[in-house]
Amino acid sequence: MSNETMTAGEKNKVLDIEKIRNDFPILNRLVKGHPLVYFDNAATSQKPAAVIDALVHYYTHLNANVHRGIHTLAEEATAAFEATRDAIRGFINAAYREEIIYTKGTTEGINLVAYTWGRQQLQEGDEVIISGMEHHSNIVPWQIVCEEKKARLTVIPVTDKGELDMEAFYTLLSEKTKLVAVVHVSNALGTINPVKTIIDAAHGKGALVLVDGAQSSMHLDIDVQALDCDFFALSAHKMLGPTGAGALYGKKQILEAMPVFNGGGEMIKEVTFEKTTYNELPYKFEAGTPNIADFVAFRPAIEYINELGKENIRKHEDALLSYATEKVREIEGIKIIGEAAHKASVLSFVIDGVHPQDIGILLDNKGIAVRTGHHCAEPLMNRFCIPGTIRASFAVYNTLEEVDKLAEGLKKAIKVLK
């Protein structure tokens, strides 16, 4: 924070945060008798009324199965469902709408690539590189497929500051590398990784790159063509949208060459008992009746973000992060985990002699929601020799006053616990 005397209340000039807060009905509720302070946004974001209304509207006016019927409801439901695909395409600047595969979320997107591309392409002796700050969802699928194909899984180490050791990455990268799967923004540390550098280096060795965009999609401008990534996975629920909806972006020619994932309805062209031919992109990867309502309601979330503007969102979140970092640093015994030069809206820390769970319980008693634990990144916690951290993660609807409440809550909790 540039101005140390800046007080809570004097905040971003561009966005009217109070107005934004009014768009999120859940922010009005009380928790344990206190106004909710929601700092668990890296786990899932809250939803604006536009998203909630879209869900209700869908079931009230549009509900029908998509792509099948010729009746009015089916056509309207299909149009609403497919409109989200165009919105996602625009949101990440993909070249073609058929490069957007609907998934349940980031985890399913990564699994889809592992089970189709991975099983088809990986051979004995090949290597897949991940990083030491991956979420379990970008570790386990690669362990499974590497074990099956006798390929080797290697890991880019993480420095004490919580950044990727890029020198080590260049050493790991070789002609044997077939894929680099790396997180864009770490859910546990907030580190923004230099994915463009990684992608260019990997392509230089003929390897593909999958970017786990679960945390980045709400905060950073995503341009998959400029990044030149081969796959990009995201989740709607981390970016103001509903749970159970997400997208996998893949370059068209790669997706076309990939074998199918799930078999069933929708993904087929013709079925006989002798042979089935498959539908074209993106439908060949979308077997069965999809999560229609949640995809329909994902579009207003994207529109909401677009309307606020990512740069404005980032400005506000950066202000929250620096203010929180400063406030938390003042508290004796706190050690911040993850002090990368480039971070996005995640503040992870430990406190001398205090278990994160105790802090989580006492903050919850004040209506403050933080995450405590290993954040589904156990190898990363082991790297820092800690069982877990306390993580406050910020979103556009959070305020500096709420950060003050967090700091106060922490001080009180530490006093009681020590």
Partner: protein, 146 residues
Amino acid sequence: MTNSKSIPEIEQEIVEDFSLFDSWDDKYEYIIDLGKKLPPLDDAFKKEENKVKGCQSTVWLVADYIGGKVIYKAESDAIIVKGLISMLIRVLSHHTPDEILDADMDFINKIGMTSHLAQTRSNGLRAMVKQMKHYALAFKGSKFNA
């Protein structure tokens, strides 16, 4: 130390203790205080086989069977959990396996703990009670085998 009071009597005592508190702040302070007072478990007992599964923090639980009574010792790396364990030990320790197996442990609901602790944490509490009852069951079996 023997326990002259029955399990339901001790449960009732705890419920009455808690009824004196006006706020959850006070309740937590009391639980934290219990946690701080819980005697540490010898490091020799802090091994994998004594860990209670299902807890977000680490809980070690051991039990002895002396003179027909089960005696529990436990520790955790988190203080609030330690305070909760301390209450469980106060209720169940120094009773016979049958008394322990019959205990409904309804005091946990009555003091509002289940509604106040998030699902994950009350799962941990349940896991501890389950493990304590497992010990009682095992000792009961050994009694009949002996």
